[in-house]
């Protein structure tokens, strides 16, 4: 019974149950996460302010950096891994990400389309005057 493979609670990297690595490993994991997050944040701020890069590509680069940093946070701070004891957590996360993408991308797409097919402001004012 002792080796029953329950799923791990999210965020539960180093509970007494799976403490064989010792608390030093825990500190190391958080520190590596912090360093990676600081590096990615610094690159984000640099990319936003530099004039060296091709401007239209900057927002795409910022998006990629943000997604990378969210991944770092998920793995090093929330301890969401691809291990078999994490399947439920990852499935829930995947569903959450699906909804987020649908809401954000869907809203942007629909509103951009509506804006394009809207009556120009001058014509609108003419209509209003009647």
């Amino acid at each position: 019974m002792t080796d029953t493979r329950y799923d791990r609670a999210p965020g539960d990297g180093f509970t007494p149950a799976n403490m064989e690595e010792g608390p030093e490993t825990g500190v190391l994991v958080y520190t590596v996460g912090l360093l990676l997050a600081v590096i990615l944040t610094a690159i984000s701020f640099w990319v936003a302010n530099t004039s060296l890069l091709w401007t239209p590509g900057v927002s795409l680069g910022l998006t990629a950096l943000a997604i990378a940093q969210m991944g770092v946070h998920l793995v090093f701070f929330l301890h969401v891994t691809t291990g078999p004891n994490n399947t439920n957590n990852v499935m829930a996360l995947a569903f959450g990400v699906l909804i987020v993408v649908l809401v954000v991308a869907g809203s942007l797409l629909i509103m951009a389309d509506l804006n394009e097919s809207m009556i120009p402001a001058e014509l609108m004012n003419l209509h209003m005057q009647h």
């Binding site: 943000a66 929330l78 954000v104």
Partner: protein, 211 residues
């Protein structure tokens, strides 16, 4: 033949230890998973606010735009505070795992101070914007901005109150399983807020300065 036997042995081992035959999972796992689901629904709510902001980002109605209002230095300091606070929160959960009271308190104090510093900077930024003629009712862009960033700030405020309550519970009740489960939920909440902030400073502040 030997390989087959070994495989069968593996299958039997696996069948004996699957979770569904061992009864319900420990409460810590159930509670953590339930709170994880709540956090994901919270993130979906933030997604709706992000979508509103992204749609309205250029609807300034002749008022000030993001590029004129945002101060990147202050945003960088806020980001550093929240990131460091997330790190000390991680150290706090390690201290809780090994049930060390003093380390828990020290890490909690750092987490609280850094979170409070973040909140103070954000409130000063809001006050400065309102004083400079950019209150939420000025334009759709500013309404969306204050809703999105304010909602995150409200979450941080709730997190700070929660942290104080949890420290009082440790002082009064000690490291009981119930208290430890609540602390697990708190650290999940705090790390999730940091993830939302990463999204927020990229979309609102860094991309806002671009255009």
């Amino acid at each position: 033949m030997n390989v087959n036997v070994a495989l069968e042995e593996d299958v039997r081992q696996g069948a004996r230890t699957i979770a569904s035959e061992a009864g319900p999972a420990p409460k810590r796992i159930v509670v953590g998973y339930g709170f994880w689901i709540f956090l994901l629904s919270d993130i979906v709510m933030f997604a709706a606010l992000f979508a509103a902001y992204a749609v309205l980002a250029h609807a300034t109605a002749g008022g000030p735009s993001g590029a004129q209002l945002f101060n990147q230095v202050s945003v960088a300091i806020e980001t550093a505070c929240l990131l460091a606070s997330s790190y000390t929160c991680g150290l706090m959960s390690l201290a809780i795992g090994s049930q060390r009271r003093l380390r828990t308190y020290v890490a909690a104090v750092f987490t609280f101070v850094l979170g409070a510093a973040f909140l103070t900077l954000e409130l000063r930024e809001f006050a400065g914007m309102i004083a400079a003629g950019a209150p939420p009712q000025r334009s759709a862009f500013l309404s969306a901005f204050f809703t999105l960033v304010g909602c995150h700030g409200l979450h941080v405020t709730v997190g700070l109150i929660w942290l104080v309550v949890m420290m009082l519970q440790i002082a009064v009740k000690g490291f009981r399983p119930t208290v430890e489960r609540r602390l697990l939920c708190f650290s999940l909440f705090w790390h999730a807020l940091d993830i939302i902030w990463v999204w927020l400073f990229t979309v609102v502040y860094l991309m806002g300065v671009q255009s």
